[in-house]
C-alpha cells in the first residue's frame, strides 16, 4: 500500500494561505503598502499593485478568465475577467486593473454576465465541438469557462470563417500542437518568453489570422524550442498537449515529489493513473522551481518503466560467466559472505563503498554508515569526488561551510552576475531561466568560459561580457580580477574589517597586488585581453549586488580548489557575501551532490562534515552507532582504483554510480574493476560498471521510494514514492539488509527514521524532520535551534569559522599542456537533453536531440586537418584514444575542442587523464591535451568495449531466460 501525499489538503496553512493548486490570475506583488477595497461586498486587503483579479481570487471570488495565469504578467486579451468599478466607465479587465484604496468592484451582474457569455460565444464560434473526444476533456479551461458563463448557444452558427482545418504539428516527441483548438490567448508565447526565456514562440499574422508559431513558422522540433514544457503547461485548451495524456487520458491522482535529474531539484506533481505515471507537471509550490521545468524533468521519465530495468537480484562468480537470477535473500547472503571472506583474507581495509549523488540522503547516509559500522573502515567516497569536491574544500577553508551561500531566488536581486565555468542553460536549465529573467530586467552578465555559452545569447538582456579564457587558466583570471579590485580601490573595506581575519587578508592583499597578478601580465596566460578583465572586475567590484555562479569548469581542474578559494576571496573582498543578491554559488551537477557530501560520503568526514580524526566527533558517532569508528580517513575513489590494481583492495559496493563511464581514464578504471574479487553494483540498469560486477542488486528509481534530496541551494526536498519498486525493494532497504547480513543490525522502517538519526548527529540538520518538511514544503540547511525554519542566505552575520579567511591563490600551470604532439585542448561538458552518463535519458525520447556525442571544433582547426562536418575523427591524448564524429562550431575558440560524455561508446573518458585537483583529487576533466585526425574506423578501445558490452548483455539475457 502506497502512502499518497496530498498537498491539496495537507500543504495549506503552512504559514501562508496560498493554495498552489489554484491559479490566482496574476503574479503576487511585493509591496509594503497595503490597499483595502471592496469586492462584491467583501472587504479585501492586498499589497499595492495587486490586480483586482488576484485580489478577488485571494478573497475566494473567482472571476472567469482565460488568458490570465498567475505565473504570467497580465495581458488583458480574453476580456472574460471584465468587472465593473464604481465611478469608472465601462467594464475594465480585472487582470490589468490594479487595486486602489476604497475601490468598489462588482464581479457579477446581468451586464457582466451578458458580456462574458457573448465573448465566450465568439470563442466557440471558432472552436471544434469535439469536447467528448478531446484529450483536454476534464482539464480544459475553455470548457470550464463556457460552463461558468452559461453559454447555451452559438448564434453565429459554425459556417463562418474558422481555423478548424489548421494543420497539427506532431514533431516534438512529447507534445502535440493542434492549432485548431487554439484560442490565441498567447499564454504559450508569454510562458516561453517570461517563464523560460527562450522566445521560441510568437504570434504570427494579425487579426483573425493571428496564430501561434514556433520559430519562423516551422515545426516545433526545427525551432529554437527547448521542450521545457512551459507552453504546454500554460495552454488552457488541448492545443499544446502531452502525448502521454493524448494516449492515456487524464490522470486520476497525483503526488508531489522532487525531480531526480540535476542539482536544481525541481518539485513536480507526478500525475498517475493507478500506478502508472502519465505526466510530470512542475509544481508551483516548489521553492526551487516555482512551477517551471526542463525537458528532462518534465518529459524524460519513461526510463523508469523501460524494458532494460533490472528486476531481479543476480550473482555470478566471475565476469566471464552468465548471470544467475536469485532471491533477494540469496543475493544478500552471497554478498555478505564474499565481503567477510575477503576481509578475513585481505584485512578489514580491503573493502569499501561508493555512495551515489543520485540516491536519497537517507540512502547515502546508510551506505557510508554500512562502510563505517559494518565494514569497519572509512573507505567510502562518492561521485562528488569527481565533480564538486573542490567546492567542499575551498568553501570550507574560506567561508567555513561546504555549500553555496544563496537561494536560487537570490539572483533576482543581483545587479551583476558572474558565471564561471558553468553552462546553466544546458546543465541547470530551470535556474538559467530565472537568471535570464533577471538579465532581461537589466542585470549585467560576465561569463568566464572558453566557450561562447548560450547564456550570452539571452534575448533582450542588457550588458554582457565574455572572457574567453584558455582552459586551465581560471586561477590566473580570478587573480587578475582581484588585482584590479584591490589596486583600483573597489574593496568593501568595511566588510573586510568586520568579517574577515586581518592577518590572512593582509597576506592575500600583498600577494594579489604583485605585478604578476595584474591583468596585463595574466593576459598572456589566459588569452583574455587585460581591458576586458579590468572592465569585468570593475563591473563586479562596483555592483550593488554582485553574485558569482560556477560549475564544473571551476572545480574539474588541477587547481580546482585554488579557484574556489579565489572566488571566495573575490566575494569577500567586495563584500558580496551575507545578503540576498550576492554570494558564491556552486551549481551542482547531479540532483543530490550536495546531499551526498552532507551525508558523510567522504573518507575523511562523518555526516555534517565532521572530521573522523576528531575524538569527540567519533565518540558521538560511536555512541549512536554502537561501534568504534576508525580514526584514519579511508581511500578516495582514485586510491581505491590504485589499491585494486595493487591487489590490496578487493571488494567494492557501488550504489547508483557508473564509475566505469564517468570517471577519467577509463582504461585505468576498467583495469581496477577487473582486479576486484567482488564488485557489488546496485543500479536500475546494467550500466558500464555493472558489466564488471559479481553481484547485481536492482535499484529503485526516485518514483519508487521515499526520501529526500538536497539541491544546490542546500534545499532539502521530499522524494515521495508514487509506485512500487520494480524489484520489490527501495534502495535503502537493500543496504539495510546487507548490513544485517553482515551482522551489523539496522532496523529502520521508514526513511524518516534515518533522517531523525541524521538530525541527531549532524549539527546543521538538528531541526530537520519529515514532519517539518511536510509543513514547510522544503528546508534549506542549516536548520537548527538558531534557524528553526532553515537558512536561505548563509553567513549573514558571521561565518561558521568566525572570521572569513582569505587564502593565497598562486597560479600554477597544469601539467596537462599542449605540445607538438598534442596541440589542442579538449574540454568536456554536458547538454540539455541528456543527463550525465545518459543511463536514464538515453532510454527516453530525449535521444532525438542528441543520439551521439560529437566533437565540436573551430572551423580553423578543422580546416587545418582537412576535417569536415560529420567526419569520423580520432582523438588521442596521453591516456588513450577514441573516435567521434566532428561538428564544426564557432562557439569554440581555435585550439580548444569539446565533447560530451553522455554515451558510453564515445569513450570520452578514455582520453581524459589521471591529472587531478591537488587538494581533493577531483579529476581534471576540463583540460586534456590532444591531437585529432580524420579516421575511418572506431578506436581499438571502442571495438573492445563493444564486444565486451555485447557479451555482458547476453549474460544478462541468459539469466532472464533461466
Amino acid at each position: 500500500m502506497l502512502n499518497y501525499f496530498d498537498p491539496k489538503t495537507e500543504h495549506t496553512g503552512a504559514g501562508s494561505a496560498i493554495d498552489w493548486t489554484r491559479d490566482y490570475g496574476t503574479p503576487a506583488v511585493d509591496s509594503d503598502v497595503q490597499v483595502s477595497l471592496d469586492i462584491d461586498g467583501v472587504a479585501v486587503t492586498v499589497p499595492e499593485g495587486t490586480s483586482v483579479l488576484r485580489a478577488a481570487a485571494l478573497a475566494g471570488i473567482n472571476i472567469p478568465k482565460l488568458c490570465a495565469s498567475d505565473n504570467l504578467e497580465a495581458f488583458g486579451s480574453c476580456r472574460l475577467c471584465a468587472v465593473q468599478i464604481d465611478g469608472r466607465r465601462g467594464m475594465p479587465a480585472s487582470c490589468t486593473t490594479p487595486v486602489a484604496e476604497g475601490m468598489a468592484v462588482t464581479t457579477q451582474n446581468a451586464a457582466l454576465a451578458k458580456l462574458r457569455r457573448n465573448v465566450m460565444e465568439l470563442y466557440i464560434s471558432d472552436h471544434p465541438l469535439d469536447c467528448l473526444t478531446c484529450p483536454a476533456n476534464g482539464d480544459c479551461e475553455l470548457q470550464d469557462m463556457a460552463g461558468a458563463v452559461g453559454l447555451r448557444e452559438v448564434r453565429y452558427g459554425f459556417s463562418g470563417e474558422n481555423h478548424l482545418q489548421a494543420e497539427k504539428d506532431h514533431s516534438n516527441p512529447y507534445f502535440s500542437f493542434d492549432p485548431s483548438k487554439c484560442i490565441v490567448c498567447s499564454r504559450c508565447v508569454r510562458a516561453c518568453e517570461e517563464v523560460q526565456g527562450t522566445f521560441a514562440l510568437t504570434i504570427d499574422g494579425r487579426g483573425f489570422d493571428s496564430k501561434v508559431a514556433a520559430g519562423q513558422d516551422e515545426p516545433f522540433m526545427d525551432s529554437e524550442c527547448v521542450s521545457c514544457g512551459a507552453c504546454v503547461q500554460a495552454c488552457p485548451t488541448s492545443t499544446l498537449m502531452e502525448k502521454s495524456i493524448i494516449d492515456e487520458g487524464q490522470p486520476d491522482h497525483s503526488v508531489v515529489t522532487t525531480c531526480a535529474y540535476c542539482g536544481v531539484g525541481c518539485s513536480f506533481e507526478a500525475e498517475m493513473k493507478g500506478d502508472k505515471l502519465v505526466r510530470m507537471t512542475p509544481w508551483k509550490g516548489g521553492d526551487a522551481n516555482h512551477g517551471h521545468s526542463c525537458v528532462k524533468g518534465r518529459f524524460a521519465f519513461g526510463y523508469a518503466t523501460h524494458k532494460d530495468r533490472l528486476r531481479e537480484p543476480m550473482i555470478r562468480d566471475s565476469i566471464d560467466l552468465p548471470w544467475r537470477a536469485v532471491s533477494w535473500e540469496e543475493a544478500i547472503q552471497f554478498t555478505a559472505d564474499r565481503i567477510r571472506d575477503i576481509q578475513t583474507r585481505h584485512g578489514r581495509d580491503s573493502v569499501g563503498g561508493i555512495t551515489s549523488s543520485r540516491c536519497t540522503n537517507e540512502e547515502t547516509y546508510l551506505v557510508q554508515k554500512l562502510v563505517r559500522a559494518a565494514f569497519g573502515n572509512n573507505n567510502t567516497d562518492t561521485c562528488a569526488r569527481v565533480c564538486h569536491s573542490p567546492t567542499g574544500y575551498g568553501l570550507k577553508t574560506t567561508l567555513g561551510e561546504s555549500a553555496g551561500t544563496q537561494t536560487f531566488d537570490s539572483v533576482m536581486k543581483s545587479d551583476v552576475i558572474v558565471v564561471i565555468g558553468a553552462n546553466p542553460t544546458d546543465a541547470h536549465p530551470v535556474f538559467a531561466s530565472r537568471l535570464r529573467k533577471r538579465l532581461r530586467q537589466g542585470a549585467s552578465l560576465i561569463v568566464a568560459d572558453p566557450r561562447h555559452i548560450d547564456l550570452l545569447k539571452t534575448p533582450h538582456m542588457g550588458e554582457g561580457i565574455h572572457l574567453p579564457l584558455r582552459p586551465g587558466t581560471n586561477v590566473a583570471l580570478i587573480n587578475a580580477m582581484a588585482h584590479v579590485v584591490v589596486s583600483e580601490g573597489l574593496e568593501d573595506e568595511d566588510f573586510v574589517s568586520r568579517r574577515c581575519d586581518p592577518e590572512a587578508y593582509r597576506q592575500w592583499r600583498e600577494f594579489i597586488l604583485l605585478e604578476k597578478n595584474s591583468p596585463e601580465h595574466m593576459e598572456t596566460i589566459t588569452g583574455v585581453p587585460a581591458d576586458s578583465i579590468r572592465q569585468a572586475a570593475r563591473l563586479y567590484g562596483e555592483a550593488g549586488n554582485g553574485a558569482i555562479y560556477y560549475g564544473l569548469g571551476v572545480t574539474e581542474h588541477s587547481q580546482g580548489s585554488t579557484m574556489v578559494i579565489g572566488i571566495a576571496n573575490l566575494a569577500m573582498a567586495t563584500g558580496n557575501i551575507g545578503r540576498e543578491g550576492v554570494g558564491v554559488n556552486p551549481l551542482r551537477g547531479q540532483n543530490n551532490v550536495q546531499g551526498s557530501c552532507d551525508m558523510g560520503s567522504f573518507p575523511h568526514e562523518l555526516p555534517g562534515y565532521q572530521h573522523v580524526g576528531v575524538p569527540e566527533v567519533r565518540a558521538r558517532f560511536s555512541a549512536a552507532w554502537g561501534v568504534d569508528i576508525d580514526p584514519e580517513p579511508g581511500l578516495r575513489i582514485p586510491n581505491m582504483f590504485d589499491a585494486a590494481i595493487d591487489g590490496s583492495f578487493k571488494a567494492l559496493y557501488v550504489q547508483g554510480e557508473d564509475i566505469a563511464q564517468s570517471d577519467p581514464n577509463t582504461q585505468h578504471v576498467e583495469q581496477a574493476l577487473t582486479s576486484l574479487e567482488c564488485l557489488i553494483v546496485q543500479d536500475i540498469f546494467l550500466n558500464e560498471t555493472a558489466k564488471f560486477a559479481h553481484v547485481l542488486l536492482p535499484g529503485s528509481t526516485f518514483l519508487e521510494k521515499n526520501g529526500t534530496f538536497t539541491n544546490a541551494e542546500r534545499r532539502i526536498n521530499r522524494v515521495r514514492k508514487v509506485m512500487a519498486p520494480v524489484a520489490g525493494k527501495e534502495d535503502w532497504e537493500v543496504t539495510q539488509d546487507l548490513a544485517n547480513a553482515l551482522g551489523y543490525p539496522m532496523h529502520y522502517s521508514h526513511p524518516s527514521e534515518i533522517m531523525d538519526e541524521i538530525a541527531q548527529l549532524a549539527p546543521t540538520f538538528t531541526g530537520v524532520s519529515y514532519d517539518k518538511l511536510e509543513r514547510l514544503g522544503s528546508i534549506q540547511w542549516p536548520c537548527n535551534e538558531a534557524h528553526p525554519d532553515g537558512t536561505p542566505t548563509m553567513h549573514e552575520d558571521s561565518f561558521p569559522i568566525g572570521l572569513g579567511r582569505f587564502g593565497l591563490t598562486e597560479f600554477v600551470e597544469t601539467e596537462e599542456r599542449t605540445n607538438r604532439r598534442f596541440p589542442l585542448l579538449l574540454t568536456t561538458g554536458r547538454i540539455l537533453s541528456q543527463y550525465n552518463v545518459g543511463a536514464q535519458t538515453r532510454r527516453t525520447d530525449n535521444q532525438v536531440w542528441h543520439d551521439e556525442d560529437v566533437l565540436e571544433l573551430h572551423p580553423h582547426d578543422a580546416e587545418e586537418r582537412g576535417i569536415s562536418a560529420g567526419d569520423w575523427v580520432g582523438i588521442t591524448s596521453r591516456a588513450g584514444d577514441t573516435v567521434l564524429r566532428a561538428r564544426i562550431s564557432e562557439r569554440m575558440q581555435p585550439g580548444v575542442i569539446y565533447t560530451t560524455f553522455h554515451h558510453p561508446g564515445s569513450g570520452a573518458n578514455v582520453i581524459t587523464t589521471d591529472n587531478s585537483d591537488w587538494a581533493t583529487n577531483c579529476p581534471e576533466y576540463k583540460v586534456t591535451a590532444v591531437q585529432v585526425e580524420k579516421v575511418t574506423e572506431p578506436s581499438s578501445w571502442q571495438q573492445r568495449h563493444q564486444t565486451f558490452g555485447r557479451r555482458q548483455w547476453q549474460y544478462l539475457e541468459q539469466a532472464s531466460d533461466a
Partner: protein
C-alpha cells in the same frame, strides 16, 4: 505692371500629385531664361486642395493667387502675365488672403502653412517661429505645463485627452528604473502615423511647417524633462520624411535642436522612425511597441505610457497637431488659445474635408460652428452634385451622421452626445448613391483587416460582424441577425481592449439606426424586432 520677384509653387504631396512638380520645373526653366531675377519658392500648401496647384506671386498688393493651375495651363498663364501679377486670367483668384475659404478660417496652427518655405529657418523665424521656444527656455517645467493646461488643449489624435494633464503626469513621473539601460530618461513621442482615411492635417504640418512640430516637441521635452524625441511617421509619407529629416538637420546646425540649444545648456535630440504600415500602429501602446522594433500589438493600460512608455520610461505620446499647437500657446499664452472655442472644447481644430466634396481641404476653425456650416459653407456640398446622404466624422471609427444631425455643433461634447466623435477631424461626405449597409459592412471589414488580434471581441467579433451583416443584406433571418449585430456591437464596445474594436460599433450602429432602409428594415419589421 512691375515684374514680381517671387513666385510660389507648393511642394506638398497633394499639390505635387496634381502637377505642382511639373509646373515648378517648367516655371524654373522659364525664369532662368526670361526672368533671372525672379525667385521661385517652393512653399507648403495652404490646404485649399480644391485650388491646388495654387500658384502665388508676390506683388505690392500682397500675394496674388492663381489656381487650380495645370501644367498645360501654365504657358497660357505666363503669357497672360503671371510674372507681372496679372488680374486678367480666368485662373486668377485675387489676393490669397482674400479668398473667403481661407479668410474665414481661424488659423493658429496653420497660420504659416503655404505662406513660408517649409525648410527656411529664416522664413520660419520671420513668421513668429521659435518665439515660443525662446520663451520656454526661460520657463520652469511646471510653468510650461501650467500654460498648456490653461490653454485647454486636448489631444488631436482622437481621444481628446487634455494635453496638460498628460504632461503633468510625465513631469511628475520618476524616471529611475534600476536595471533599465534607459533609466533616468523620459521621451517625447510624436504620433505621426495618421491612419484615418481622408485625413492629412499631420502631413500638412510636417510638409508645410516642420519647424513648428520640432519646436512643439522641444517645448514638450522642456516641460516634462525629456531630452529625446521620436517622430513615428506613417511610412506612406516619403515627402514628409524627407522634409522632416532636412528640417532636423538644419535646426541642429542652427543650434535650435541638439546639444545646448541656443546656449541654454539644455539638450534635445530628435529622431524620425518610420511606421510599420498598419492602422493599429497609430494606437499609442501599439505604436510604442513598434517604435521599439517589436510587432505593433496593443498593450493593456495601465501602465499608462505616461508612466511606462517608450523603452519602459515615462513618455509623452501626442499627435502631431497637439504638439504643433504648443509653440503658439507658449508664445501667445494659454489663455489666448483658450479664448477660441467653447465649453471644454477650446482652441481651434483643423478639420479635413474629404470624400465626395466640392471644396476639399484643410479648414481650421475654433470649435463651435455646426457640421453643416463646415460641409456646406466651406465644403460646398458634394462634388458629384447629388444630395449629401451621410457624413462620417472622425475617421473610420467615427459615426455616420444623417442630415438630422448636421446641425450638431463642432465640439467634443456635443458630438459625444450625438453618439459621434470628432476624432482627428476627418470629415468624409457621402452622397445619396452610397449603400449604407455596405458602409456598415465596410466598417466591420476595416476592423477585421486592421485588428491587431489581441483581444477576442475585436479579433473574432469583426469577422462575425461581416458575416452577420452579409446575412442581413441577404435577408437571411434578418430580424434575428439585426439583434445579434446589436449585441455584437455591445460586446465589441464594452469588451475590446482598445478603441479599434471598441469604436467600430460607431459607424455600424449609426448606419443601422439612421439608414434602416439600407438594411431592409421597414417600420413594421423594426417594430417586430424591438
Amino acid at each position: 505692371m512691375a515684374e514680381v520677384h517671387t513666385v510660389y509653387v507648393p511642394r506638398d504631396t497633394t499639390a505635387c500629385s496634381l502637377g505642382a512638380e511639373a509646373i515648378a520645373q517648367q516655371l524654373g526653366r522659364h525664369l532662368a531664361m526670361h526672368s533671372p531675377d525672379c525667385r521661385l519658392v517652393r512653399n507648403g500648401s495652404r490646404g485649399a486642395f480644391w485650388l491646388e496647384p495654387l500658384l502665388e506671386v508676390e506683388t505690392e498688393q500682397g500675394r496674388l493667387a492663381y489656381g487650380p493651375v495645370t501644367p498645360e495651363q501654365l504657358p497660357d498663364l505666363l503669357a497672360a502675365g503671371l510674372l507681372a501679377g496679372t488680374t486678367e486670367h480666368p485662373l486668377y483668384l485675387g489676393p490669397v488672403d482674400d479668398i473667403p475659404w481661407l479668410r474665414r478660417q481661424q488659423r493658429l496652427t496653420f497660420a504659416r502653412a503655404g505662406v513660408t518655405d517649409p525648410l527656411s529657418i529664416e522664413d520660419y523665424r520671420t513668421h513668429g517661429g521659435f518665439v515660443g521656444l525662446k520663451k520656454a527656455l526661460s520657463m520652469t517645467p511646471q510653468a510650461l505645463v501650467d500654460e498648456v493646461k490653461a490653454s485647454g488643449l486636448r489631444g488631436r489624435g482622437g481621444a481628446a485627452f487634455p494635453a496638460g494633464i498628460k504632461w503633468q503626469t510625465v513631469l511628475d513621473a520618476p524616471a529611475d528604473n534600476p536595471g533599465n539601460p534607459q533609466s533616468g530618461r523620459k521621451f517625447i513621442v510624436c504620433n505621426a502615423d495618421e491612419g484615418d482615411s481622408g485625413t492629412f492635417a499631420d502631413r500638412l504640418v510636417m510638409e508645410a511647417d516642420p519647424y513648428m512640430l520640432i519646436e512643439g516637441m522641444i517645448i514638450a521635452g522642456l516641460a516634462v524633462g525629456a531630452d529625446y524625441g521620436f517622430i513615428y511617421l506613417r511610412s506612406e509619407y516619403p515627402l514628409a520624411h524627407q522634409v522632416l529629416q532636412e528640417a532636423i538637420t538644419r535646426a541642429e546646425q542652427a543650434g535650435w535642436l541638439g546639444a545646448d540649444m541656443q546656449g541654454s545648456g539644455r539638450d534635445f535630440q530628435l529622431e524620425v522612425r518610420l511606421g510599420a504600415g498598419a492602422y493599429i500602429c497609430g494606437e499609442e501602446t501599439s505604436l510604442l511597441d513598434s517604435l521599439e522594433g517589436k510587432r505593433g500589438m496593443v498593450r493593456a493600460k495601465p501602465p499608462l505610457p505616461a508612466l511606462k512608455g517608450a523603452f519602459g520610461q515615462p513618455t509623452v505620446v501626442n499627435n502631431v497637431l497637439t504638439l504643433a499647437a504648443v509653440p503658439w500657446i507658449i508664445d501667445q499664452g494659454g489663455q489666448a488659445y483658450a479664448n477660441h472655442g467653447q465649453g471644454r472644447s477650446l482652441g481651434t481644430m483643423p478639420f479635413q474635408l474629404a470624400g465626395n466634396i466640392e471644396r476639399g481641404g484643410l479648414v481650421e476653425l475654433a470649435f463651435g460652428p455646426t457640421l453643416r456650416e463646415l460641409v456646406e459653407d466651406f465644403g460646398g456640398g458634394t462634388r458629384s452634385g447629388r444630395p449629401m446622404q451621410a457624413i462620417q466624422v472622425g475617421g473610420p471609427l467615427g459615426a455616420y451622421l444623417p442630415a438630422a444631425q448636421w446641425d450638431t455643433s463642432l465640439d467634443y461634447e456635443a458630438f459625444a452626445e450625438a453618439g459621434a466623435v470628432l476624432g482627428h477631424g476627418g470629415v468624409v461626405v457621402f452622397d445619396d448613391t452610397v449603400d449604407m449597409a455596405q458602409q456598415a459592412r465596410f466598417a466591420m471589414e476595416f476592423c477585421m483587416v486592421e485588428s491587431c488580434g489581441k483581444c477576442t471581441p475585436c479579433r473574432i467579433g469583426s469577422v462575425r460582424g461581416v458575416e452577420v451583416i452579409d446575412r442581413i443584406i441577404a435577408d437571411d433571418n434578418r430580424a434575428a441577425q439585426l439583434d445579434l449585430l446589436a449585441e455584437l456591437c455591445d460586446t465589441m464596445e464594452f469588451g475590446s481592449l482598445c478603441a479599434m474594436g471598441g469604436m467600430t460599433p460607431n459607424p455600424v450602429r449609426s448606419a443601422v439606426e439612421h439608414f434602416p432602409d439600407a438594411f431592409g428594415v421597414t417600420p413594421e419589421s423594426s417594430a417586430g424586432a424591438a
